[in-house]
Amino acid sequence: MKLPENEKNHGYPACRPGIPFYLKWKKPAFIVFLLLPVPVFFVSIFLGTYPLPPLDLLKVLLSHITAYEYSYPPIYDTVIFNSRFPRVLIAMMVGSALSISGATFQGIFRNPLVSPYILGLSSGAAFGAALSIAVIPELPAQIGAFIFSLIALGFSYTMARVGRQTSTVALILSGVITSSVFGALLSIIQYITDEKAVQSIVYWTMGCLHTSCWSKFYDAFPLILTGCLIIYLLRWKLNVLALGEEEAKAVGMNVELYKAVFITAASLAASAAVAVAGIIGLLGLIVPHILRMIFGPDHRKIIPLSITFGAAFLALVDDIARSTFGFEIPVGIITTLLGAPFFLYLLRTTKIGGWE
């Protein structure tokens, strides 16, 4: 592969490897997006339904971190450390999980318009939650949701697998089938159960964070961390896969293996997120898309940014959900209402709607 000296530059001195990995203005933007969760976290803990003056909150925090003495009602501690902290952290964790799994599924399916729910994850989770709410109250809703989201995914995946191959179209079709099967099962439960249970099922499916507590955070965190870590480590391989399966095979990639690993990791993270927060729609679509519009499609950038920007994004949306009106709106409703026009805009302005 050694080139003769005279062939080396071809008169293109400007673009030799000194080239900035991100174009000039993109590098600071990249860093800003990476660090975004930090300021968003601090803004978010100041917001909430409990009337806690910002100055007081600052004083409480200071008294905990430094030697500053400040006496305050004990309820403040509960509000800050047992309500707002876990809530903001869960919002961030769920935002990261849904965004990264959206970005991953879009890469695997080579389509920028698929969501983490494409393989029936959300309907499986909704059914699982409904089952535990209405039929088996001993089973916590989040565990039911988690188990059934994985069952739904496994179902889609095995249904799509013919021989040793899982084609993209087969996966998407089996996802559609799985979704409708679990949708029907959910309807059965809603049909036979009492009104109160139906109400809580509906509330659960809307996706909300107001029941956040530390135990939920600790339940989901290891799963989401594992999923994110695997995808983060393999992020460049998504570029190879996103160019097409045949192209990936031609460069020696074990396509089926990588696909299975990516689907498992992305599903694990998304299932855990859905289990604690319910179905938060369109987030896994909006976040990777905004990032691609700014930074381009390279997954080496998109994956880490999905983690951080996804976290910041959902935390901010949740801030809106709990502070703009006098009452709480389920965050899933806001993401969907924000996402739908965005989705429409994308469909209209880009030619990327179809599969290859």
Binding site: G107, L234, G296, W355
Partner: protein, 292 residues
């Protein structure tokens, strides 16, 4: 035995290759060998199995019978990753849904050299640039792959295959969808690769004149007529030997192979394509003109 080993020592050698899709026999008893460093064109009508043959050689498809040797190693015994270091493949016109930069596309060719959890490093980026410069397309390394012309895209795909640092390059109709200038440019680049880097090239072509102009050897294939016969393999199990012999297709895919001027004769072209052609000679070059 010893002689045979020498024969298939270097280059690609295909022995008794047979493949059927469902019940259609596509390739029957295909035998040929390609010398290292030569440019070989595969020619034949649509559906004669050119693309299939390429896919078997690079391991996408498994044959029913027969063996493919690359540098005297059976390809079935070479791991995907290893094979990708020896053999590059450029498929027919490729489309991407994501606007990856040209550099990012070429970098994927470094896949066999990058360990599981790693991303391409400085060395890989340097390699990618070397390849892009060799192809004369380094100036659009940062352009989105989706916004360049068809000819440029073909050059990028060849660059990607070259980033694998292969000894062999398989190209599936490298000139399809290109205008005349780009067709010649791409073919000249391919020849240049074989000559300057000793890369062995096997490509499928539709234009017989390009085969005459740009290849050291031509393999002319025909489409198997009785494609819907149950394949040989099944008959040899089920039916009696005599019956199997009768039902076994006498036809083989290869009409002829060898130097272009020997293969591309009106008789053989008629045999492969079923049309009449004239062969003209002009300034030492041959030209094929169909009779209309």
């Amino acid at each position: 035995m010893k002689e045979k080993n020498i024969q298939k020592n270097k280059g690609i050698s295909v022995e008794n290759l047979t493949l059927s899709y469902e019940k259609n026999l596509v390739l029957n008893n295909v035998n040929f060998s390609i010398k290292k460093g030569s440019v070989v064109s595969l020619l034949g009508p649509n559906g004669c199995g050119k693309t299939t043959l390429l896919k078997i050689i690079n391991g996408f498809l498994r044959q029913n019978e027969g063996t493919v040797y690359i540098d005297s190693r059976n390809i079935e015994e070479i791991a995907n990753r290893e094979l990708a270091k020896i053999l590059g493949h450029v498929s027919q016109m490729h489309k991407s849904s994501f606007p990856f930069s040209v550099l990012d596309v070429v970098l994927t060719g470094r896949m066999p050299y990058i360990s599981i959890f790693a991303s391409p490093g400085k060395k890989d980026i340097e390699k990618a640039y070397q390849v892009l410069e060799f192809m004369g397309i380094a100036h659009f390394a940062q352009r989105p792959y989706t916004q360049i012309s068809g000819g440029e895209r073909q050059m990028v795909m060849i660059a990607k295959a070259l980033a694998q640092e292969p000894d062999f390059l398989l190209l599936d109709e490298p000139t399809s969808f290109l205008d005349l200038k780009n067709q010649i440019h791409v073919l000249k680049t391919i020849i240049n690769l074989a000559r300057t880097r000793n890369i062995t090239v096997l490509m499928t072509l539709h234009e017989p004149n390009y085969a005459l102009l740009f290849s050291d050897e031509v393999i002319l294939l025909r489409k198997l007529e009785n494609g819907n016969f149950t394949n040989r393999h099944e008959y040899s199990h089920g039916a009696s030997p005599e019956k199997a012999k009768i039902l076994t297709l006498p036809e083989e895919n290869i009409v002829s192979s060898g130097p272009p001027e020997k293969v591309m004769t009106p008789e053989k072209i008629k045999e492969a394509y079923g049309i009449d052609v004239e062969v003209l000679e002009h300034k030492g070059k041959r030209m094929i003109i169909p009779e209309i």
